[in-house]
């Protein structure tokens, strides 16, 4: 299927989200759509899928001109959109969600899933409830669902973590494209897509500023410059200075005074042994795990959504394991879930969300500028913000709210390079003001670049990693993760 978006213009109020954006995708191609948070990537995908209607411009599907698309029609002709936070029915399992979308219910769904999983070597647990899945699992689930439903064009919105942590997913995309299907991947992370795509479009401030077709792998710096108007940190993908002050052994004792959080013999799943871990005052501790291997359960138990099977959660030596979430928040713990929309309601105005966290109207713009959130007005709905800007907004709230402890699940997900740089600097700065961090991450490189201590979550519980060894050979962490 050949798709062309021609001179698309889209306004949100007075904000010009897309400014004459044009792209095309041919059969069998993997096309990258790169840009910083708020560049217009998701808006363009929403228009192609039919969730938004363009103010001007046209869409051509196999040469047939359309002024706008319609999601039902898109699905019918084989265009499927895997959103950054896939909208599935949480209370149902993957199988039940698939059954809802499958027009012909003649075939046995487990057989279909088995057949396609084997064909593309893509393992997804369809029997799990969506509510219990991490974002990565949901993205993978919806991708496989789309393939089973007959997708010919896959639109993948920011699947960065999947692309960087799951080799089988990358292989699947290559194979799927070789079969004549088209794939459009939006991303802010060049390294996630550069060796996967056939072509790259670079977007900035709603415009397509470049169409890169040749020698893509050698043009990393050029793409980076095109994406970011003001440039980013010295180390391209990740700024190098993040842990330098604190990562040196011996310097920690002066900074970390007392224990803030302690997980004592905590059992979150029967197949994972007791977790013993701690976070001290002003410390950044990461717990790394493979997506779906206990990370979500651990976060849910720490928030209070679920009860641990056994064990205790001690916050400043007080057992909070039976307290409801709001009491934990009242203690000064700020929780950032994997699915950012579980924290920030898209139905609210930006002003209202900030107000919910006690940030006054007069402080909103100053607060949001802490993390360079791009927004039209405090009166704009959160639904107008891109996924990356929602992540930045959460960090801005943390900065202005100054909690005692932040417990976050994949806090960097959705952030572009600039956003990542801002986030890491902010975390460092906040720690100087007495904020401690427990980061549950799937990406060990992210953990290594910011943490004072690292635990790996595997079947043996939480295993602490020797950071000196890990700096020399980061694969130590990976080996522990898969052990």
């Amino acid at each position: 299927m050949e798709i062309k978006l021609d001179q698309i213009i889209k306004f949100f109020g007075s904000l010009k989200a897309l400014d004459n954006a044009s792209i095309y995708i041919r059969s069998g191609e993997i096309v990258g759509l790169l840009g910083e948070n708020g560049a217009g990537k998701t808006t363009l995908m929403n228009i192609l899928y039919g969730l938004y209607r363009p103010d001007k411009g046209a869409i051509f599907v196999d040469g047939v001109k359309k002024h706008y698309m319609d999601p039902l029609h898109s699905m019918k002709i084989g265009i499927y959109f895997i959103q950054q936070f896939p909208r599935l029915i949480d209370s149902m399992t993957g199988t039940e969600n698939l059954r809802l979308l499958l027009r012909e219910d003649k075939r046995n769904i487990p057989d279909l899933v088995k057949e396609y999983s084997a064909k593309y070597d893509l393992q997804v647990n369809f029997n799990k409830r969506v509510a219990e899945m991490t974002i990565l699992e949901r993205q993978k689930l919806y991708t496989l669902m789309s393939v089973i439903l007959g997708a010919r064009v896959l639109l993948l919105d920011e699947p960065n973590m999947l692309l960087t942590t799951d080799k089988s997913f990358r292989e699947f995309l290559r194979r799927y494209a070789r079969e004549g299907n088209s794939i459009l991947i939006s991303s802010h992370k060049i390294s996630a897509v550069i060796d996967l795509v056939d072509r790259i479009y670079v977007m900035r401030k709603g415009r397509v500023v470049a169409d890169i077709r040749e020698n893509i792998r050698e043009r990393y710096d050029e793409i980076l410059k095109l994406m970011f108007e003001y440039g980013v940190g010295r180390d391209k993908e990740y700024p190098e200075t993040l842990h330098s002050e604190y990562a040196t052994p011996g310097s920690r004792e002066n900074i970390f005074e007392k224990r803030i959080l302690e997980l004592k013999d905590l059992v979150i799943r029967e197949d994972i042994k007791k977790i013993n871990a701690s976070v001290n005052n002003r410390e950044i501790v990461s717990i790394i795990s493979i997506a779906g291997k206990g990370d979500k359960e651990l976060f849910d138990v720490l928030v209070g959504f679920k009860k641990g099977i056994r064990g205790k959660i001690l916050y400043k030596s007080v057992d909070i394991s039976s307290e409801p979430p709001y009491r934990r928040v009242a203690h000064g713990i700020f929780f950032v879930p994997d699915n950012k929309l579980d924290l920030i309601s898209p139905r609210y105005k930006i002003r209202e969300i900030m107000g919910l966290w006690g940030i006054r109207n007069s402080e909103i713009s100053k607060c949001l500028s802490e993390t360079s959130v791009m927004y039209r007005s405090p009166e704009a709905n959160v639904s107008e913000l891109s996924g990356g800007n929602i992540s930045r907004m959460i960090l801005a709230i943390v900065a202005c709210n100054r909690p005692n402890l932040v417990i976050a699940h994949n806090i960097f997900s959705g952030l572009d390079l600039l956003g990542y740089e801002i986030a890491t600097r902010l975390i460092k700065r906040l720690r100087m003001h007495g904020v401690s961090f427990l980061l549950i991450l799937n990406d060990y490189e992210e953990a290594l670049r910011i943490s004072d201590r690292i635990y790996v979550l595997n079947e043996r519980g939480a295993v602490e990693i020797n950071l000196n060894e890990a700096y020399k050979d980061p694969s130590v962490i990976w080996r522990e993760m898969v052990s």
Partner: protein, 363 residues
Amino acid sequence: MNSIYVRRKSDEPSTVKIIIISLVIFTIIVFLGVFSLMLLSGYELKDLINIFFDYRNLLSPITIRYSIVIALLSLAFLINVAGGFINLGGEGLIALSMLAFLIASVYNLGIFTAFVLSILLLILWASIPYISKVYLESSDVLISFLQNFIALFIINHIVTHVFRGELARPRSPPIDPSINLHYISQDNILYNYLGRVSIESIIVLLVAVVFLTYLLSRTKIGYSLRLLSYSTKTASISGVNIPRTIFLNLLMSAILISFASAELLLGGERKIFYNENAKIGIGSMSFGLGYVSLSIAILSIRKPYISLLYSYILALGYMMVFSSYGFYRLILGVAIVGLSLLSVLLSELLLRYEVRLNWRLKH
């Protein structure tokens, strides 16, 4: 038609747009619907024109009184809806509140205790579906709908067996004169326009409109309250004290419902009665009062002051029903509820949703 696509718009419509579109839809569906039904039911066109274009209804004391009752109930349900709680048991709540006034009357407890009793009873009653929804993920709509029948059954039993005032018909004894509100004196010029409306109800209504508009859109408590309608998970992770928020929600709505039922009971016949057609002691006005108020609440959810306008229009609709007679009054009463709900749904769809119908002709 090949497909239909519905998407909620991100922008909230302007007040002017809401008023114009809703008024047009209300007029077309409710007025014309009732008009057609009456015509089909055997009314003469000439009589109908007299009923429908009776300008005296526009500012009659009865219209104003009904508007105030509907507005108080609408605001009560608006608070519930804002917190994600759809209460279909409006009439049952009014019945229970009236029961509290009756108990206070029988045991000489005074007006203040009557209100406290009513508020407590309503909080307890409404907390069943709300708490079940939040903590057990059960259907608040279904539970409150069933509760409505139970409440009406209780009232039936009370006025038939426990506190029966008359032998001929199941009615409660009259409410003691000590349990009363303050009314405009008949010498006052305002009496010609407002009639027997309590001063307390007017004040509570006006304060509630301003207070709720501010509370829901400008305060942390209001944001917390609304967050429950998005997701309990989000509310709890945002530090919202869910039990306290539920209590606050129910408390505010219970106060307003208590004033509405006091207005109906104390300003009217001052007796609670139960019969097949009118159900409880609010005469013919009981036809789907809860459903109508709930539909107004849904339509004016982001702008509570708009509920005043809708309440007035619906009160005019009720006046039409009262102008009919006999068996038709019942049919029209039911029809007006259905039509007003339909008009609310349509207005909501036109104002807040983008609807696309894709037609493809078969060649």
